[in-house]
């Protein structure tokens, strides 16, 4: 019999669930809540204890009615501060759990009416950040261990109860609807029930794992934490989803239970899924859609409805479409100001308006050298400068031993404005290597990009379409971009790219659907670029009709004739009634580009 891969959360609070490892058909492991969600999303585990935010964001899972919840104070999700809430300017968070962060956002808005900056930091440095105006949201065992050590300690579950009179569910056991047979579902539920009953002796046996007195440790597991999600817990979860959807923090996803209906043996659902029409209306209204909803749109929605929805949303954000240009130069050209000036004056001749300078081919071996180069260029150029990529930074970090945070800080301080999307066009680990030959994980790419955003640089992001991906995987990738953009809003533009130009299946409908749904899904990245206009004017024209708001033209990738052709095509699009901002023309010829 094939084993079911199960992942529990690595924590004292969840120790009753360790009983799952006793099941012969279970391959058991433990990890963080966020990592559990990633593994479940990407098919690395079959059943996992995940944050309820991730349950809603995915939207295609069923719950096993067991999890981690608290009726009032739970001690495991606490805001630690030296001063009262009102004096806080920053709250530091770790990457451990998203439910607590979402609950914090909701409470800040609805209960306290405050808006301090929320900043993610490494888990082990969280408490180092706490100062007169900085608090830390601490979860799990760390929170249990330090309770009582700070002047202000706010238990988020307690605050939620004060707001709603309902319990708060932090995590839920989730799986895909077709993973567990009726028999397996029953066996797992039997172990859950056994674990709940035996939690007190389990707590005593494991008391050395936590720095609490035995009585308190035992009480935490026996009395404070709710493991079986009863009617009240489900009502609390429903209320949280409702409020989060209203605040546009989460998609509108009702909790669905995996309990089997005794008569048919089929998985029961509490609420029927939303219609395509409702999903489209919600997304145009700016509401967040889930991965399951996006997948439903990709698989079932008429192309015409997606086209209208994406164009409506585009026109709601941008009155008119626009054109932007990039000029790629070599490191040598960048080092020689005279050559650079000449290059840029040529660009002026080709009527470049919104221009980015890309410096290509540089190997990051000597950070000081490139800091100096960027510093000099920054003093001379008015245009944004793009240089290096996340894979370059990771390579240098690996070889120099310097943290990516420090590299990002120094390059941005020296004058780096933009990071390209290179290496991050499909951030699912199993696809990453196949598509871009990457030797890093998606999480490394994202955390590196996060530092650049944090220090003020902007970046591009994209989705590279290939035929060996599922729609769900494409939206999992977009979800990672959306999550990072929520934390550090540094993605300046998004584009769709084709992993190969040769596959006829990638010629028409799939990329168009991907573009349209990306416009709807990426509710926090407004600029969607078309990058096809020069080499494939028809695709470019359709992209600009179906969600893209800007045509991005790399002047170095094309001859002056091709660039002129592209501008002519844009004029042709204007001729047939497509709105464009004024394409930069002769008036910009004398624009002072150098100080």
């Amino acid at each position: 019999m094939e084993k079911i891969r199960v992942s529990n959360i690595e924590s004292y609070t969840t120790l009753p669930y360790r009983l799952l490892s006793s099941l012969k058909f279970v391959e058991y492991r433990e990890s963080s809540p966020v990592e559990n969600a990633r593994m479940l999303n990407e098919g690395e585990v079959d059943v996992a204890l995940i944050p309820i935010t991730e349950f809603a964001i995915h939207g295609g899972y069923v719950g096993l009615d067991f999890g981690i919840a608290g009726r009032s104070r739970i001690d495991a999700v606490v805001l630690f501060s030296k001063n009262p809430l009102k004096s806080l300017k920053t709250i530091c968070l770790d990457n451990y759990s998203n439910s607590s962060v979402c609950l914090l956002r909701l409470l800040l808005k609805e209960r306290w009416g405050l808006s301090p900056e929320l900043v993610r930091v490494a888990h082990d440095t969280l408490l180092n950040q706490v100062g007169s105006e900085v608090a830390a949201l601490v979860t799990g065992d760390m929170a249990l261990n330090i309770r009582g050590k700070y002047p202000v300690e706010i238990d988020l579950a307690e605050e939620w109860f004060a707001l709603t009179k309902l319990p708060f569910v932090f995590c839920v056991w989730a799986t895909r609807p077709d993973t567990l047979s009726r028999e397996l579902d029953q066996e797992i539920n039997a172990v859950f029930n056994k674990a709940v009953k035996a939690r007190e002796p389990l707590a005593v046996a494991s008391r050395e794992e936590i720095a609490l007195p035995v009585i308190e440790a035992s009480k935490h597991i026996s009395d404070t934490v709710i493991y079986h999600l009863d009617k009240d817990c489900l009502a609390g979860m429903s209320e949280f989803y409702k409020r989060s959807f209203r605040l546009n923090l989460l998609p509108d996803e009702p909790y669905r239970t995996a309990r089997y209906m005794m008569t048919s043996g089929e998985a029961a659902t509490l609420k029927s899924p939303k219609s395509i029409s409702s999903i489209l209306e919600d997304s145009i209204a700016g509401k967040r859609i889930s991965i399951a909803e996006a997948t439903k749109l990709a698989e079932e929605a008429p192309l015409s409805d997606l086209a209208m929805a994406s164009d409506m949303l585009r026109s709601k954000i941008f009155d008119k479409r626009s054109v932007s240009f990039a000029l790629t130069i070599s490191e040598n050209e960048a080092s020689d100001l005279k050559v650079l000036k000449e290059k840029i004056s040529q660009i002026s001749d080709t009527r470049a308006g919104s221009l980015t300078i890309k410096i290509a081919g540089a190997k990051l071996t000597n950070l000081v050298k490139y800091e100096n180069l960027l510093h000099r260029l920054r003093q001379e150029l008015l245009y944004p400068i793009e240089m290096f990529s996340v894979p370059d930074i990771l390579w240098f970090s690996e070889n120099s031993g310097m943290a990516t945070r420090e590299i990002a800080s120094r390059l941005v301080t020296a004058g780096l404005d933009l990071m390209p999307e290179t290496g991050g066009a499909m951030l699912i680990d199993k696809h990453l290597g196949k598509i871009v030959g990457a030797e890093y994980t998606a999480s490394q790419w994202l955390s590196t990009m996060k530092w650049f955003h944090r220090f003020g640089a902007k970046s591009a992001c994209s989705l590279a379409i290939s035929t060996n991906q599922t729609w769900e995987e494409r939206f999992l990738h977009l979800q990672k971009l959306r999550t990072l953009q929520d934390e550090t809003p540094g993605f300046r533009f998004f584009s769709i790219q084709l992993a190969t130009q040769k596959d006829p299946l990638l010629k028409a409908e799939i990329p168009l659907r991907a573009l349209m749904i990306s416009r709807l899904f990426l509710d926090n990245i407004s600029q969607v670029d078309d990058v096809d206009l020069v080499k494939d004017p028809v695709s470019g024209m359709l992209n600009l009709s179906f969600g893209s708001n800007s045509a991005r033209i790399d002047l170095s990738a094309h001859s002056p004739e091709e660039t002129k052709k592209a501008l002519d095509i844009i004029q042709a699009l204007k001729d047939i009634g497509m709105d464009f901002e004024k394409v930069p023309g002769a008036a910009n010829l004398n624009r002072p580009v150098l100080n």
Binding site: S277, M308, M312, K507, S545, D568
Partner: protein, 337 residues
């Protein structure tokens, strides 16, 4: 879907394997569509299309001037036109007139043309001829065409345009109508099945009566205003609503252009007019996108915008090369030597 393995454009074989036909999913006027079409200003037209009501000149002009690609896609999804398999057929122009001029015998022409046509694997091939001397149809030409038409199954012979035939009889001293009918009957007896039609009802009736399929091309740039184009489409709708007068309709342009902007504008505009024609001309069974007028990249998307037939045409000397006949210039050298 049976795809032609190639078409011939400007002397080059054009692979068509890459073209994936698109059939819109049936769509309904749900709450989202209602809101969206109202916002875009096309709800009234959508309701008419759903109720199978005729669109007025004003409606058509509104579509021509204001409908973007998303709205056109949506309106097409309401259309009653049955979107079966997309037909992608190769078409060749046989330069029979040239070969005869340069001294090839009828038998040589028939043999070579037959070998070539048999080598094409598709079930259907559209065949046109470079020159048809309408005043001498009874000679060698008729024999050649009859034999070529019998060389294999699935050949659709396309004759000259009705306008050209009418021009031929314009100077006739006796009954022009009878002369016109005689030419058409001869063409029919030779095996021609399809004629390039004009939108004049009188000729559409005549050619239909004689058993021809009428293939109508509307050159979009012939009309000096959107209103005139709307009137033409409305007229075509009226004459095709009650009788099967037109078998296929193709939006086209009058002349070729080397100007990028014009070519691109023409491609984009033809796609739009094709969609609008497909909505307006509900009684015309075939909406054809022709590679004569559209770029290869645009042909990819033609089926999204109402085309249910994609035609690739040979328009130059390439058939001679494919038939392994020498080019005209070489023939001259041969005859001079």
């Amino acid at each position: 879907m049976a795809l032609a393995r190639f078409g011939i454009i400007n002397g080059e074989r054009l692979p068509s394997e890459g073209i994936v036909g698109f059939s819109p999913r049936p769509s309904t006027l749900d709450t989202f569509s209602l809101k969206a079409l109202r916002q875009f200003g096309f709800l009234g037209i959508a309701q008419k299309i759903i109720k199978r009501q005729e669109l007025s000149v004003g409606d058509i002009e509104h579509l021509i001037v204001h409908a973007g690609f998303p709205v056109l896609l949506k309106l097409l999804s309401f259309s009653s036109r049955k979107q079966g398999k997309i037909s992608i057929a190769p078409a060749v122009v046989l330069p029979v007139g040239h070969w005869l001029k340069f001294g090839f015998s009828s038998k040589e022409v028939i043999d070579q043309a037959s070998i070539f046509l048999k080598s094409i694997q598709q079930n259907q091939i559209q065949v046109a001829f470079d020159e048809i001397d309408l005043n001498n149809l009874d000679g060698n030409f008729a024999e050649i065409v009859i034999n070529i038409s019998k060389s294999r199954r699935g050949l659709i012979l396309e004759g000259p345009s009705i306008d050209k035939i009418v021009d031929t009889v314009r100077d006739a001293h006796f009954d022009k109508r009878e002369r016109l009918e005689n030419i058409l009957k001869t063409l029919r007896d030779c095996g021609f099945k399809r004629l390039r039609a004009s939108s004049k009802t009188e000729f559409l009736h005549l050619t239909k009566k004689l058993g021809f399929q009428n293939s109508l091309i509307t050159p979009v740039d012939k009309f000096s205003s959107d209103h005139m184009l709307a009137q033409e489409l409305h007229h075509l709708c009226e004459i095709t609503s009650f009788e099967d007068l037109v078998d296929s309709w193709t939006p086209g342009v009058l002349g070729e252009t080397n100007d990028w902007r014009r070519a691109a504008a023409s491609d984009f505009q033809l796609l739009r007019v094709m969609a609008i024609g497909s909505l307006v001309l509900q009684s015309v069974p075939t909406i054809r996108a022709s590679a004569l007028y559209l770029s290869q990249a645009t042909m990819h998307y033609a089926s999204y915008f109402g085309a249910n037939d994609l035609g690739f045409r040979a328009v130059d000397q390439s058939p001679q090369l494919n038939l392994k006949f020498p080019l005209n210039t070489d023939l001259k050298k041969v005859s001079e030597s």
